[in-house]
Amino acid sequence: QTTITGNVSDSQGPLPGATVLVKGTTTGAQTDFDGNYSIDVPQGGSTLVFTYLGYQRQEININGRSSIDVTMVEDAEALSEVVVVGYGTQRKADLTGSVGSIGAADIVTKPITSPDQALAGTISGVNITNRSGDPGAPISINIRGVGTPGVNDPLWVIDGVPIVQTTNITVNTSSTTDSNPLAGLNPNDIESIDVLKDAASTAIYGARAANGVIIVTTKRGKRGDARVTYDGYASFASIRETIDVLDVDQYIDIQGQLGRDLSQFSGQPFVDWQDLIFRTGFVQNHNVSISGGNEKATYFISGGYMDQEGVERAQGFVRYSFKANSDIQVGERLKFGESILISQVDRQVQSEPGIFAGFRSATNAPYYQPFGDGPLGYNLINQETVGQGSATNYLFNTDDRFTKTTIQTRKVLANFYGELNIIEGLKARTSLGIDYNVGVGDYFTSGIDLLNGASGSSLLVSERPIELTLTSAATLQYDKTFGDGDHNIGAIFGFEQTKFRYDKQRLQGRNLFNENFAATGTTVAGANEGDLWTLQGWLGRLTYNYKGKYLATANVRRDATSRFAPGNRDQVFPSVSLGWRITDEDFFPKNTAINEIKLRGGWGQSGNQFTGLNFAYLAAIDNNVRYVIGDDQGTVVAPAPTTFANADLKWETSTQFDIGVDASFFDRKLTATFDYYNKTTDDVLLGFPLPFVSGFFLPADANIGQIKNSGIELSFNYANSIGDFNYSFGGNLTTVKNEVTDLGPIPNIISGIGGASTHRTVVGQSLGHFYGYKTDGLYQNAAEVAAAVPDVNGTPSPGDIRFVDVNNDGVVDANDRTFLGSPFPGFFYGMVFNAEYKGFDFSMNLRGVGDRQIYNSARVGLEGMTSTGNFSTQILDRWTSEGSTNSSSNPRLAVNDPNGNNRFSDRWVEDAGYLRIQNISLGYTLSQDKLKSWTDNFITNMRFYIGAQNLATFTNYSGYDPEVGRAQSFQKGDFTLATGQDGGQSPLPRIIQLGWTVNFN
């Protein structure tokens, strides 16, 4: 036995914590804070192996020396080579599932509010849709299509804590007060986001993984002196365009033709109300982080502040966040650590009277002046100011002095872990995760009199929701290489339990004595809500590879939930996947342009437990049904079930098959990945539309039918340099074919926002597609009208829309409604360009969505020519005489619309494909050498940049923004079966930013 000492360093200096191993033994050592090591080499030991994460592995023959110094070389691809998978990491080379990743570089400095926005256009298979441009509004993420009409969110796992995403933190019930549950996370703290797309990868998350899994890893400390980084930017957010509306004379003329005499207002100044509500919002974001540590302990601490004004009045978003991560080694075998996020999000949304103020104000009578003799200096609404026209003063309705709605979320998201190395290769780990959200939602209306003369009375609605998710896990992990490194096995086995609890108090007071407290009202009411569930899972994984050439992974998870009746609570979710690195075979020609080809194939199952209502299997009685009885006319409780109890409720199961190829060419300058996926969701959890004769009009939660999603994903990246000019470009494309293949006994599901019938789900077509009448131009003359097929919903005249008798039965009726398009895209794609030259850097990110339609319901009022409000200038092209136009979008003006031209038809459904410059930035980094000498080594790095998000959008869509989720309703949540309706939501802002990054030593 001999002792060898030495030093390990890299180009920057000593490397603490590097591992030194005697090859073929379990004898090892780590370098100390100065990079020094000492190792006892047993008899027969001849080679030392040096490893350090992010550096190339080195094997050095001892050759009788007693001192060996090593300089480690950074592995350029090392970071991208490790991929976070469920409950561990895997070398990307060994991966057999389909996983997409982005790193911190793709996230920091972008003007985004929440981490999900970073996924826009960056990873194949992942599509995001913003519900509104209101900062902090929910965002839908769909991975490989839409597999269920219920909860479609992927499972987010943040530093090992699976997040329960809810829209519980609201005030009031309008969907516009729903908030993005991820907005409390500061994107700047994120090291990487890995998206598990296929079931072979997700099955280990079992019950909650049917929609894919997104794993977020936050930054952790690096050994060495404290390094301080500041990132910040200031920016301006504005909107793309407004809608052209009629001027005063045009409006008076049109309303005159509709039988309303507004001539008294002729000559009044024109007011474009949109210009009063939309505004340029100021956005600023500042982050400071500190990282450092020694060989025993490392830490990362950061603080962030973000303030984003909305592009409409009464919208705002402020986040304060604090993050602390640390890892502490105790002795040789024990390690502890934690990651803690504490944040507060203060969000202001438009109050009920001001919802969608920007769009809705477009329909104001254009002569209605904003300011006048009314309360707070606004103009009254009466015969003198508006007459028979109509107007709402959205300046007043978005004025904080009149009404204000705020939603505050205080979040603690933390994970504590302990890890014990039992023997070489065998590790035990336990962890406790906490996700604690306290909401403070207030809807306030002051006692100021209303502009129409009605008296005001003050009102405060205070909601105090609390959510607590506790996740405890224990895993045992074993990794072993034997047979001279030919056989590599890994195994993990564990248990995880998640307990969720939600409580809400609500207090409402009117005629307040103290406007800060609802309980000081003369009329006060309170309400409570609560919910809880538990999920318990056993999980296991086995990986094996032979010489890195033949790869295999098997996962299994058994989950049990409290959400279903005993007997339906357990399910096992298995998966297997195989890989073959064909280029490692002896027969594969070497030294060609092809560096690597890996074939992958996987199959697996995962589940979904979320129905619309917890305990939907139990016959539960609501006690908020009431009646009035007795001479005193007192209110009495009248308990009754309001939902149908379905005792047979069980898991929804998604089965996915995936084959893929990973390849690299031309000295790895070009890398490419191709996948084909086929995902089948069985026992789909959906709201079964009961016949009303059942006594229930809410749908019953049930497992019905089957939905299929299939398609391909393609992505590539090419990186090269010409002298000092480094550049890369890449792209990705995903296709999704969505088809409902079975609906059990349900002939179809007709759905829509607020009880409308605008969407349908039926076997053989995509989920929740638009469903209505088809149009075929306009009747041009009396002869065409006379020849018209009778229409049960209207009587045509020349200039009216010809609705198509789709089923050719000689009458146009409800049976002629048909498929009008789908709100879910048939394909989506992203492109990225990066270039760097002598300190200058440029990057651009494009994103597109195609084969997708949107129901532009905002247009119904603007172009319907029935309301008393203002119209879009589009109606100036309407039919006026034979041959003037044949466009179904431009029927004649007709009092009371006797032909039903405004019914839901393809007139209102538009193609909403788009290509968008998602991000673009140009930066300059100062020379590090000069910087260090100028600042006496205090500042090590400095970069300035200008950037833009959403700079330009190429689309034929006529509304504010083609990327819209859902219209406003009083239903919470995603509402998948009635999505894709543009009711005039705020458009996504165009943000122009000026930013600065500095690193201090």
């Binding site: 015969q383 009199d449 009375s457 009329t523 016959a619």
Partner: protein
Amino acid sequence: DQLDLQPLDRLTTDTFYKSRADFDGAIFASYSSIQDFWGTSTETLSERGEFWKISVAITDDISANEATADQITRDVDQLLIRASDRPYAAVYTQIYEGIYRANLVLERLDAENDLTDEDKTVLAAEARFLRAWFHFQAMKLFGTPPLAMEIIPGINDQALPNASRDELFTAILADFAAAEAGLPDVWDSGNTGRATSWAATSYIGKVNVWKEDWPAAITALGNVVNNGPYMLMPNYEDNFNFDTENNAESIFEIQFGGPFSDDNIWVFDDTHSEDFKASQGIARSYYWDAGGNGVPGGKNGWFAPTQDLLNSYEPGDLRLPFVLYQDGDMYYSYDGGGQIELPYDPTWSSTGLTSSKYQGAHNTVPGNRSPNGQSEFNNERWFRFAELKLLYAEALIRGGGDVGVAFDQIDDIRDRAGLGPVDRTSDPLTAMIQEKRVELAMEPHRWFDITRWGIGSDIFGADWNDRLNVFPFPLTEIERSNGLLQQNPGY
């Protein structure tokens, strides 16, 4: 067991339905479905006072205010009736919700509970009264609606076929007969508003008028007129004042009260999770009071009385001020700040008229309004003794009874209105029809008489189509019944 959890904010059927109080609550739930006929909900169906549209706005008494009324109101006013429209789904669903809740009481009466036999008799009678009442409404609206006589457990077995008129009459009359036998003549003051034995008898009479079983109708209605506890109130307006609810003229009345809590009228149905939304007011003035720019009170003014209705009143009719406002009247409304009083301006309404029924100076006061002024607590007088007297008259006239007695019924009503007796040589049926129109103006009866009498084309002329004698079943209901429920002809 960590996985064996119970809901935090709800009870389950296993633990409920034990005591008399439990069952009283369960039966009140069935009554509460009637409140929702006029409900304003933003969830699922987005109903906005739908029953007014298809029972009142649709008649010749009311015109939709073109400037302010919603599209459905305007369509209904034009007799544009579509199976896909909201009112039919809204009212249909409330009817069968009420029936389900009555059936649930009947089912649970047979399960293990703490009730006495006497309790069971009364509760069963009351549940059957409500079940019959709802089925009768369904029959008047839809002609041949399904009979839902028990709770069906299977999720795929919920759809039901049309019932024939005979089946409906048999079931409804059997239920009302059981109610008549089991219900008390009168409830104590703590239970005012619950159905009584006399109400059941009255309905037996009314249903038999619909069945045109004149002897049975005359027997039942005559029994109520001669032996019952009811009388015409001295003043017509007592029937519409919030402080003379459940009076001696009222046979069946939908109770509204409060404030349980303060809030707006939105989401006025039982399914919403927000407790505070379960305000128990009715949004009558919100839809009926004059509305539009410049009218105080922030109301909608959807429904406007017609000139034709005004013309149908004889000079000197004392009822008119309690039916509508016209030029020269003082107008009363209410907003969050209190009563509004100012001269009526005919330009507020497309017909120059606005309803004053259930309104007026007496009712536009804080005691009858929610703090925000949007909803009011006045009961809906669904079945008044005045209507019963006219039904009695009709049965006598058409069933070959004593026409003199029939004239007496009409004269009693005219007398209260300050009008002289009907000329005994005039056609009694015409006199009854005329009196019924003016006495029950804007109460939900005329449309169902028009369709029952088959006089639609006389009133609406070329706009009439005989399919209108019944409404369409909701399109969704047809679609969800998988062919079991047949749509009414012409829809």
